[in-house]
């Protein structure tokens, strides 16, 4: 299949790729996305500054394939690219329905570790001794209250603001966002174009720091902070709720309109 083949892009593109990044090898290559996405390929070859800002050619072939698969899916469905939430999101108990508590730590001097009876895959720390040091039997009702208290305290006092992802999760999220930007551009979803942006603006839009507090391939550490923007499809739903895309004339209108989220449901 053509999309699986690796093509060398024109010299101009290869040169642009090496501007802002440390190449992983001297053999800079970009994957041809396949004939069905030729328009995207043309967009990139005609605008090497976009490729450079994404550091696309320096990224592994597997990442590039993932990105093009995201674009292909968006073209097929008519919906923005998607990526799942990282597993740690669920492990931290942020999906309230599960009330999973992996990763919770308490002061070991005050709390004794016990295991949840009904959900043995998670450990739970709880003050399971009375004042005289006798072990207490924890009923499900008590456990339920403790869980709710923990979640409430966590929200009020020490909210989770950092999500760790695996390399694979991080790459999927990042690929989805780059694919989304290209999909927006190619399908003219907004009346402005990324090809008019300078390198600084493109860097601000496409850098890993836009979505990740830490993107450290050397130490295999990928961290999202403050807002989990894992899926452009989810974000696009918000946009559509608060912005009338037909009325957007320029980026100023987009910025002003996006502030309307404060009154949306």
């Amino acid at each position: 299949m053509k999309k699986d083949l690796i093509y060398s892009l024109p010299v101009l593109l290869a040169t642009a790729c090496s501007d802002d990044a440390e190449p992983q090898s001297n053999n800079i290559q970009c994957i041809h996305p396949g004939e069905d996405l030729q328009a995207y390929y043309d967009l990139l070859t005609q605008n090497p500054q976009v490729v450079a800002a994404m550091n696309l050619c320096e990224r592994p072939a597997s990442f590039q394939t993932l990105l093009w698969d995201k674009v292909r899916e968006a073209e097929k469905t008519g919906l923005p690219p998607d990526a799942p939430k990282p597993q740690s999101y669920y492990d931290f108990g942020l999906e309230m329905e599960t009330k999973s508590l992996s990763g919770v730590s308490f002061d070991s001097n005050q709390y004794q570790k016990i295991e949840m009876v009904e959900n043995a895959e998670y450990d739970f720390y709880f003050p399971a001794k009375d004042g005289e040091g006798r072990k207490l039997i924890i009923s499900n009702q008590v456990l339920e209250r403790a869980t709710e208290t923990f979640l409430r305290n966590q929200e009020e006092r020490e909210p989770i603001k950092t999500i760790y992802t695996t390399k694979e999760e991080a790459q999927e999220i990042y690929a989805a966002h780059l694919a989304h930007s290209l999909w927006i551009e190619k399908n003219e979803k907004v009346p402005w174009s990324i090809i008019d942006y300078n390198s600084e603006q493109l860097g601000e839009l496409f850098g890993t720091r836009t979505w990740f507090k830490t993107w450290d391939e050397k130490n295999d550490e990928y961290v999202i902070s403050l807002v989990l923007d894992h899926s452009p499809r989810e974000t696009w739903k918000v946009i559509n709720d608060i912005v009338d895309l037909e009325d957007l004339t320029d980026q100023k209108a987009g910025v002003r309109g996006s502030a309307g989220y404060r009154y949306s449901e």
């Binding site: 999101y89 807002v227 946009i239 987009g254």
Partner: protein, 162 residues
């Protein structure tokens, strides 16, 4: 992203949230810390459009809930000259970081401000705005509030975008 924020960290989260929404429209932006009201607060900057959201919390701050979304952001040019030009946490940058927010509070008085005035009198306005507005401007605000509330008889709901 619509319903599942990682953390509800006030201006810290919402500043980042604001940038993410713009990014989804292929608009670059950045959020930064430490300039609004001195240390510890997050602001948003859109260099491309010349906008600054002075404080992430402005989007839901009680006294700005009647400010139209289109009027919520300050001018980046003003911020560059009057806020970002000074070291974080130092005057007059700290004072200047409030200017747009305070102006919008006065220009689009929110339900909370109407209630403050009608419960606590003009002193509530003077106390809140004395460092940013003249006596004449505060007098004019009082007149407008009296007019809006029909002499503190009616308290219209906030309706910023309608």
């Amino acid at each position: 992203m619509s319903v599942e924020l990682i953390a509800r960290e006030g201006c810290q989260s919402i500043g980042a949230y604001d940038v993410k929404l713009a990014n989804a429209l292929n608009i670059p932006g950045e959020h930064f810390n430490g300039y609004f009201n001195g240390e510890g607060h997050r602001s948003v900057k859109f260099e491309l459009t010349g906008h600054v959201l002075a404080h992430g919390d402005d989007v839901y701050a009680a006294y700005q809930t009647n400010t139209p979304s289109s009027e919520l952001m300050a001018s980046l040019e003003f911020w560059k000259e009057n806020v970002l030009a000074y070291p974080k946490g130092e005057e007059p940058g700290v004072h200047n970081s409030w200017v747009h927010s305070v102006n919008s509070m006065m220009k689009f008085p929110a339900w909370r401000l109407l209630r403050d005035y009608c419960e606590d009198g003009k002193g509530s306005l003077t106390e809140r705005f004395k460092d940013f507005a003249s006596e004449k401007e505060i007098d004019e605000l009082e007149e407008r509030i009296v007019d809006i509330t029909n002499g503190c008889m009616d308290f219209p709901e906030n309706s910023p975008d309608n």
